[in-house]
């Protein structure tokens, strides 16, 4: 089935099984690989992206849901995005695998929490990192909030 949507601002049409998870469509069909597979069950957040401004775990959303909508992946955030800048400044990544998901979660979170406390971040961002970058992520989200105001 043909499904049309916008990916990082560009119109695209895919001819795929409408039930294919958005994750695989973005990664394998569109070759945008920042969005990662971690669990396939909406548990880890590695596949986090935005659809029409909503934050979604793309492993558990069928591609047909994106039809006619705007999908944004980490590749779609500019290098100057406060989240990316804060992540650079605080040198967050270790292996880096979980980070795109965390950054997409943070970018969405900051839109509704311009002045986040640790507790806000802790209850709203529930992604998983195995390397143990959590303490830097907390700092980076707060730093990104500051940078957003500049």
């Amino acid at each position: 089935m043909k499904i049309s949507f916008k990916i990082n601002g560009q119109e695209t049409t895919l001819d795929v099984d409408p039930q294919m998870p958005l994750l695989w469509a973005v990664r394998d069909e569109l070759k945008l690989t920042a969005t990662k597979y971690g669990c396939g069950k909406a548990l880890c957040g590695a596949c986090t992206l935005h659809v029409d401004g909503d934050m979604l775990r793309s492993c558990s959303i069928p591609i047909e849901y994106a039809s006619g909508k705007n999908v944004t992946t980490l590749e779609g955030l500019p290098e100057s995005h406060p989240v990316k800048q804060a992540w650079m400044e605080l040198q967050v990544p270790q292996c880096g695998y979980c980070q795109p998901g965390f950054m997409m979660a943070a970018a969405h979170f900051l839109q509704t929490h311009p002045n986040p406390t640790d507790a806000d971040i802790q209850t709203n961002i529930t992604n998983i990192c195995r390397c143990g970058t959590q303490s830097r992520i907390l700092k980076a989200v707060k730093r990104a909030a500051e940078l957003s105001k500049k």
């Binding site: 069950k41 270790q94 143990g132």
Partner: protein, 721 residues
Amino acid sequence: MTEDKKINSRRNFLKRGAIVLGGSMVASYLGCNPMRRFVAQTAEGMDLPADISSFNPDFWFQILPDNLVLLKSPKVEMGQGIFTGYAMMAAEELNVSMEQMRVEHANTASGIEDALGTGGSNSTLSLFKPIREMAATLREILKLGAAAIWKVPVAQITTQNGILQSGAQKMTFAECVAATKQWTIPKTPALKPASEFKYIGKDVKRIDLKTKVMGTAQYTIDSHFPNMAYATMLPCPYFKATLKTVNTAAAEKSPDVLKVVQKDGWVAVVAKTQYAALSAAQKLEATWDVPQMLQQAALEAMVTVGKGTEVNVQKVGNAKSVLENGAGKVYKQAFRTPFGAHAPMEVNGTVAHVTKDIAIIVLGTQQPSITKSLVAKALGINKKMVDIQIPFLGGGFGRKGMMGNVVETAQLSQIMGRPIKMMFTREQEFQNSFYRPLTHHVLSAKIGEKGDIQAITHDQATPDEVLKFVTGSTLPLKLLGADFISAGHGASLLYNIPNKSATVWGTEIPMPVGIWRGVGMYPNTFAVESFMNELAHETKKDALDFRIGLLTDVNDSIAQRTKKVLEVLKEKSGWTTAKPAGVGRGVSIANDRKSIAGSAVEVAIVEGKIKVLRVTQVLDVGMILNPEGIRSQMEGCVMMGISGALYEEVTVKDSQVSMSNFHEFPMATLADVPDIQTVILANAHEPYGVGEPPLAPIAPAISGAILDLTGKMLRQLPLKI
């Protein structure tokens, strides 16, 4: 400087380290092979299998046309920052900026094979001298090249930021390479003294930072070849089960399926898309022969002190006799740690592109050399035809060393005649893996009438199948098994107690176990250091001062460095300040890979659960390479340590791991982040390992804090109140 060799730039291939100039290699000799030395030190006097004792180059340098320096690394980057460390070492001697350094994984077809793989926190130390010597040699080669071009004495030439200079004349390294046909190889120059270091010891940003923030870093799962198909395996649901029957009809009819392949007792679905393969695999109907239904309790019973083969690994004085005779009190306790899952965020997997000329294998592995042999054997081809290409690893923790799916993926590519990507599902990653072994520990101490510790014994029981998986059973397990991996790390007691002994009870269990971040040290430190906390409590002493009081031997450098770590910990953690109500404090140390780690923690009980409030982490790394990199490893260890102490546990039911995905294997999250303070000490002359040692003291420090708070000792991981 003596010039001892003229090398024509077209044909010299080298051993050990290598330098590539103008598209060809220039030889250089490095002295004792560092990997070999490491093996030799670890496995003293053993006959090593050929695989481990013959070496190709360990790494090489290349000057790229845009005046960048490329270092091909034999050790893999799995988050620990080794690329950055190597770049610093090289930049230091080459006199180039960090921005000019590029580091990539060596692929095995280019000649680099590191038979030991990456792990055991030895990557920095093992190449610390060789990389600098090689970089210094390269710098001098370039200076000699420039001297010949400009016809000036080499002593007049200086280097800075990748530029050669003599008076007003300047040329980049790359220009020198382009203009030189014949190279002169000097003897290995003297290395910079520490007082002249420009990078080593300073904070440096990791060189893979930007690619990992922008999302362009490539992992196995991101690799792609034209015409590639996707495969998924029918997972074997039970340990050591064999496939009895499988009905593939429904799967074969599933949309976009190309083929259902059955081979050597396994079944895989190959399809046009990942989704099609995963959906079709759900439709396979299989029955299995299960040799025995294993249960958790039975496994624990097998791994119990007193069962299996007994190997004494430490004997000082006569602990047994002191325990059994004379006045004083015997204090004895038992501890257990569970099976552990690695749970790297990136699942295992392989992308294989097998043609008649070459088998290109893309996978994040900690063991490229072993992987290469496995593939050659499985495909029935010469090892020279296999090229292992390694992208970034999305976490290793020991998991990316064995029991992946490289053989099956390569075979599928051969059968299908096209490139194949086959990733584990998260469920397979949890259930078709190997695990950190569960352990059982019994510790006994003789407490004299004045509260002095006269003797301690530590008996550890652990399954010892670890090396069998890693090396394909070629290493003499009886000699090395327990000793090398598990017992060798943390089983012995470092405190200066007159009578002490450590014994390991090795046993085999019908379940795959293996390497895990700091595998032996992690359980051993939990047991030994928890027991030390208990002994302090029992003798009514401060847990930190109690330890310092047992580090009395001034000739024992490890003991003295440990004492220093404890003193710094005491000061930096505010150990002697008044404790807030409802807060407990605990301490622990760990000594491994010559690094000494110490943790002091504060915990509270919040809504019936243990909450870690503060962690002060002190690490004596010997010599500091990149403080920023070390801090990030320490913070990571704090979080993984909290995760292991409070949540993580793999259990078995009916020959199956009970945890299938993250909902059944909770790990620490942002909500568990304590206030973390890290302190790095440097009290030796070489950079020791930082990836594993700081992990071990976290759990016993937490249980010590619970003891302090509640008077109750928790002797089993994860800690449950």
